[in-house]
Point group: C2
Chain length 392, copies 2
Amino acid sequence: MNEHVDLKRRYLLAGTAAATGLIASGIRVHAQDNPLPASVDWKDPEAMIVHSNNTLETRRDAFGTSLITPEDRLYIRNNVSPPDASILDDRDAWEVAIEGVAEPRTLTVGELKTMGVDTVTMVLQCSGNGRAYFEHEPSGTPWQVGASGNVMWTGVPLRKVVEALGGAADGAAYVTGTGGETIPEGLEANDVLVERSVPVDVLDTILLAWDLNGEPISLAHGGPLRMIVPGFTGVNNVKYVKTVALTAEESPAAIQQTRYRLQPVGESGGPEHPSVWQMNVKSFVTAPLESASAGMVQVTGVAFGGINAVDSVEVSVDGGETWEAAEFIGPDMGRYAWRTFALSAELAAGTHMIVSRATDSEGNVQPEEFEPNDPGYNHNGWRAHGVEVTVG
Amino acid sequence: MNEHVDLKRRYLLAGTAAATGLIASGIRVHAQDNPLPASVDWKDPEAMIVHSNNTLETRRDAFGTSLITPEDRLYIRNNVSPPDASILDDRDAWEVAIEGVAEPRTLTVGELKTMGVDTVTMVLQCSGNGRAYFEHEPSGTPWQVGASGNVMWTGVPLRKVVEALGGAADGAAYVTGTGGETIPEGLEANDVLVERSVPVDVLDTILLAWDLNGEPISLAHGGPLRMIVPGFTGVNNVKYVKTVALTAEESPAAIQQTRYRLQPVGESGGPEHPSVWQMNVKSFVTAPLESASAGMVQVTGVAFGGINAVDSVEVSVDGGETWEAAEFIGPDMGRYAWRTFALSAELAAGTHMIVSRATDSEGNVQPEEFEPNDPGYNHNGWRAHGVEVTVG
């Protein structure tokens, strides 16, 4: 291995090293009890599974009934090490270049804050959430359900910024965000750069956000400024965003061209394969997870539609033989948010496989099995996400 | 002063001792910088004004854009010292007696959790929030705007519990909740007891709640079980609830009979005066609060309807001479929740009095001035809640 590759390997954070005990057939996966990384020692240690310094997921039993995932329980996945924390010293001074508009300009966060403000509640979910449930054992972090959370972002609508700068230049087909991570010397920028392009038709939903759950965004989650693309997987929500460009083409960065592609198992990713963009409909049970007392039980979980609103969810306590409609409880926080569901079920002593199956507003239903892709993205098959509960 | 009275005075926590610098004309009130009490040292010290060990409010600049007030920023007001923290050692073992039903029973929290589950987002607000803005200087904690928050409660609907126990007994006119605080020897129970009655016609909205913002309720906020009455002021949401009774009469406790009454200034409270129950429509600005740069500014705040949904809010940057409709931003979390509002305003250099005025779904509008009551409850006058901002 030459020095270049070795450096790259160390720089691009591997997520798999810390995970142990993967059972490919699904249901149960344990990561070893790693301590919290020093950089995020403010996370709730009881709530997190630490796969590596830059890959932490929320334990399934830590979602509780909250409709909002607190920042100290929210998963972390960084493709590249974050910039130095000093970028948060003066948040309002952070600069973002707006390109591909009639009057390109660099704006500070302080300026953005005067231009408009909106809040969106949305599921933030890693593209690889559920990877542990693929049977072909893809490389990458074996996320179970907890590389996801329901969070609130506050910032300026990108639409207002584009309008203030004279509107989009001709030929804009993508919104391309560039992250502020440092490119180490000796590496090709396009190999490392976190630069993602999403179709321009979602421009009106994008926020340039400075607050997460009402407080300034932490470094781990992309502060001082993050490009938020509701309904799109985590990687498309570019952290420390330093350039937002309306572009005719997708970014040439590897993270856009060859990574985060849905190629068949055994193939390498490339522009000919679909990009990992919009999320699909999904749900999972959050209680009970292991055991319960015989009799009446409240089965609870979360459900979301991804790019669409979630419409309904059914629960089965017999592994999918029979289904009952669950009720959504608590407020509907909008199209991109998840909802909590509950079903009263009478459980007899024995073993029960509890599964849930959501339907979105377009009639898309979670499939029983999910067609695998090589890198292990977008898993929403209901059977693999089920839980086996011992009732006594 | 005899020993009885002295003990009572020490036991009933006074809220005024720590407050200094009250300016009766409104606008600015400073409490001295007291440290956080040891019992709630997990509160965010930057976010809180500490009036006393049992009266803490959220700073107006600490609400930010969050639609949910984190528990570590939520105000505290205890009428009586909480029970020993050991009551949280086994939360599911906490018992609540359900009375005034066909088949009265004592149920554990563990049993309640099997009977049903729902979540409500609501404004929790102390009856005396805004007391600092009354000109007659009522006794009691001089709350400004921060004895309020927007929080999520999860628990079992009381309706389901009552149904499971055979339904309400004949003649039920009130739901009466009794708190689990210890009554010290030498005191009359009815002088100290936290026992509140609310009209039975809101029974269907009541929750017996074990979670606050998705996590078990802290002792300070009423865990392990709190009776939640959406749209009613804080005192009606009985902490450590140990009895819930459907009763023909209101509680004989002083907190129901003579306190929390809306008597005219200078009079003592009694059953002939209206009880402090449903909250009224209200809003306040949260930014900018002191200064801003000339030019475009985003004026933000929160608005709620109390017992009703909030319908709209207007903002004036000239002390009420002219008004503009603000926009609600972020999700509508239901009838009892607050909404965040924003207005883009062009501010010239100088001093601006920024005020907001909300209207609820029934057409009730915040008044310019609020008719005072002796104890200083329910203030929702828009002028007194305004902020003076220096623009330069």
